[in-house]
């Protein structure tokens, strides 16, 4: 009770989303130091099936809510159910993923349950008796470590890919059903349709990862090696103005001052020199990887990581190595 943790897991297609295991991993670290049980709550269509796959993770129990009303996501229904579960279990910490659902649900439940929430954290650990969360602020230009004041339930949303996912640890976990008492007419906003990404490639201006080719691509067909990398990373493909002018890529994917201005988490620039007109379009990218034959290319001054080499050699190797770990 004192330090019990509830992990709010996310279900997708009858299985568990990877973030859930990461949350359990984080919860284990905290509980190892603070004591307290770890429960997991799953809501929505396919929750029970997903719960089955989590029974070997050493959790105290898995709470499943899978009513008709919860089949499609709605903030109000899920928030009502989750806050109910939280109140019943008197949890001290509630971990959610910093995902679209977590970001939407977390604060609403926090408000309902009069808790306190730390959003988008990259690390959670115990420092003495306090649970400290580290989170980026100012778009990652600084970090803060934050603790709750008092003992309100502490909602903590954690960024995907920041904590190692938990491995199965054996044992069986009971699955408990939670009956929601939410009615359809109480829900005022509900998801009515889902549109998966077309062609698997996100829009340049909204992509989290972008792979861009410059004039060094030499040919339209050569963009295939960038596309392979992009497909692997779920990235968008961009081109410099020089590449577009030379006819290697359509103007719709031109990145730069007079093209698209992008702001991804990861920008991989292949054969791009980094003149200011191009930089102006992507310099706010969180992480920039530059691959260029010329060690003096200006892009290296702005990049986070750089490799001096022939992109035709480096890019396929990079794709291969990534494939091994993803």
């Amino acid at each position: 009770m004192a330090n019990d943790i509830l992990v709010f897991g996310e279900v997708r297609g009858g299985g568990i989303k990877k973030i859930t295991k990461e949350l359990i991993g984080a919860a284990r670290r905290v509980s190892a130091a603070a004591g307290g049980a770890i429960d997991t709550a799953l809501i929505g269509a396919g929750a029970r099936a997903a719960a089955e796959s989590l029974t070997g993770y050493g959790l105290r129990k898995i709470i499943v809510a899978e009513d008709e009303v919860l089949a499609r996501y709605s903030t109000e229904a899920y928030a009502a159910v989750l806050s109910d579960i939280v109140k019943r279990g008197a949890y001290s910490y509630i971990f959610l993923g910093a995902t679209a659902m977590g970001r939407d649900l977390g604060p609403r439940v926090t408000a309902k349950a009069d808790g306190v929430m730390f959003s988008d954290c990259v690390d959670v650990r115990m420092e003495g008796t306090r649970c400290v969360a580290r989170r980026p602020v100012y778009s990652g230009r600084a970090y803060i470590e934050i603790v709750r004041s008092g003992d309100r339930p502490n909602y903590i949303s954690i960024r995907p890919n920041n904590v190692a996912p938990a491995e199965p640890s054996g044992g069986g976990t009971p699955i408990e059903t939670h009956a929601s008492n939410v009615t359809r007419d109480a829900i005022r906003a509900i998801v009515t349709e889902i549109f998966p990404l077309e062609g698997g490639r996100p829009d340049l201006t909204e992509a989290d990862v972008i792979v861009t080719g410059g004039r060094a691509m030499k040919d339209k067909a050569n963009f295939k090696i960038l596309e392979d990398l992009a497909d692997l990373l779920g990235a968008a493909v961009g081109a410099s103005r020089a590449a577009v002018d030379a006819g290697f890529a359509p103007v719709a994917i031109q990145v730069g001052q007079t093209g698209k201005i992008v702001n991804p988490k990861l920008y991989i620039a292949c054969g791009i020199s980094g003149a200011i007109q191009h930089l102006a379009g992507m310099r706010t990218s969180k992480v920039i990887v530059a691959i260029n034959k010329d060690p003096n290319a200006p892009i290296f001054e702005r990049a986070t990581y750089g490799i001096v080499g022939d992109l035709f050699e480096v890019v396929p190797l990079l794709t291969e190595e990534l494939r091994k770990v993803l």
Partner: protein, 661 residues
Amino acid sequence: MTIQGIVFLVFFVAVLAVFGLIVRLLYRILRAAKPEDRFDRWGDRIKAVLVYVCAQARVLAKPAGMGHFVIFWGFIFITIGTLDHMLGQLIPGLGLERIVGRRLGSAFILLQDVFGVLVIGALAVAAVRRFIQKPERLKIDDPAAPRQAALILALIFVLILFMYGLKGTEILEGSARLTKTNAPVSFSAAEMMRGWHLNVPLANDVFSWGHNLVIFFFLLFIPFSKHIHILGAIPNVFFRNLGRPGALSRMNFEDESAEKFGVSELGDFTWKQTLDLCACTECGRCQVACPAHATKKPLSPFRVIHRLRAQLMRDKGGLFAKGAGVLKPTPVIPENVSEDEIWACTTCGACVQECPTFIEHVQKIVDLRRFLVLTESRFPAEVQPVFKNMEVNYNPWAIGYSSRADWAAGLGVPLASEKRSFDVLFWVGCSGSFDQRAQKVSRSVVRLMQLAGVDFAILGTEEKCCGETARRMGNEYLAQTLIQANIETLKKYKFNTIVTACPHGLNTFLAEYPQFGLSVPAVHHSEFLLGLLSKGALKARRIETLRGAYHDSCYLGRYNGVMREPRALLSRSTKRVAEFGRRGRSSFCCGAGGGRMWMEETLGSRINEDRARELLGLGVDHVFTACPFCLTMFEDALKTLGREDVHALDVAEVLLEACSR
């Protein structure tokens, strides 16, 4: 008075009256237009008329202008002769001779007689050029234009024929004042006509009436054709811009209830801008000088003025209309000038420089941009982030203003805020501060100044964008905000000169900052560095292997006359310097001015590539520039053309290399 005489008198008075109404209408339009102060420096203005009207200086700048010189003076003499003739018809016995005396009168007759032939020759050449050779500069998408031109040429030709006919028959009738000596051509005409067995007095009357009718037709026709320039050109030269060519007008934002800014209808122009429209000779020289036109953009300064004049003719209303002088509020955009045309302008000023009648095309385009930007917030999408960046971070790129001086890290560059009083303020500019390529130029300048022991400082993070590019794009409000902020900052320190590596900054300090209360000496870095070299504060050894061509930036050469100094620097630093065909004041724009640097170039071909091709044709492996925009444009173009073996260097970089050996 004879019946003929009375009829003539009636015609004369009627035509003069209508002509008078026309002139009055034009005058009223000018009176109703926005004010502009061009009433200073009468001495210089009169001089301008002598040089550019009487001596036709700009017209003669191109060989074909000789034709106009002949037609112009010929027409004047013929007109005087016509007046003489008409006066004689009204009041027999009254004439030129009576006024100026026999000798002068006779000399004048000779002048007129000879010029008539010269004019015919010029007309023939003109007809051949216009209708057979069809030069680029005369191309205009208005079918009425060649028709009008043909009519004018024909009319003048007929007029001269009638003049010779008139004088010839006068000789046949036995004239005292026309002799073989002072009217040789008319005499030959007379001889020719003698064989025709004409009824001479009748023929004389016919030629006389024919001549007068042509003149009357001309008087009523000119205002509605390009020949309105006969009325407009001379005053337009008189009221020419005597200030620096690189100064745009200053807008006043005091009226907080103003709903409209800039020009959206003809009535928004000043009287001088309206007069400009009446001064266009349709020579098309602006068109051939225009880099946008040369690269097949829809913009041609010729077309803009032509369309505006046509609109003026339509919007002016009837001669006898009640509210004469008030123009109809027809929008200029897009009916007469499209947005594509307006944004295609690089403000290079070649059109203004070429114009024989001193029309100011660039200011009109900027005024139209002001309307689009300030009133309608309508401008190319790529420009909005540029405006926002200048508002928030005082530079066109979204780079934090606090890193403006990072380029100087470790170089020991003094800050104005520390030194407070110094000789030279090195104005680094946005490119020089943030663009990695241009930063190298800034460092070169600093290194050279340090070598020479110059007492200088930079503003560092206190420096804001000079505002030039915002002003050229029509965002006068933003430009003024930046200008005023910079002036505040500059006033805090004591220094003697501003030295800058950016011609756009230079131009705005020289031509525009004084409009806002700051007049401070400013020179281009090439001028300053040459001074140091000449004084011996810098020693350069020529780099024998460096061969290149020097490119004159529009804002340095054409707008501010700095052409000798960069060349002098280069001749001390390199072995040979080649020259572009289009050089000096006739240099061809790199394409980045007028805010075009921030806009995508989707129409026609690329201006910078055109210039790069010209460079490649010179067979050198370097181009020397003195402007960060030109530097970027050349590097971009050379890359696109696959010629990265040719390098662009700023003159300061070259000099530093030469001083470091």
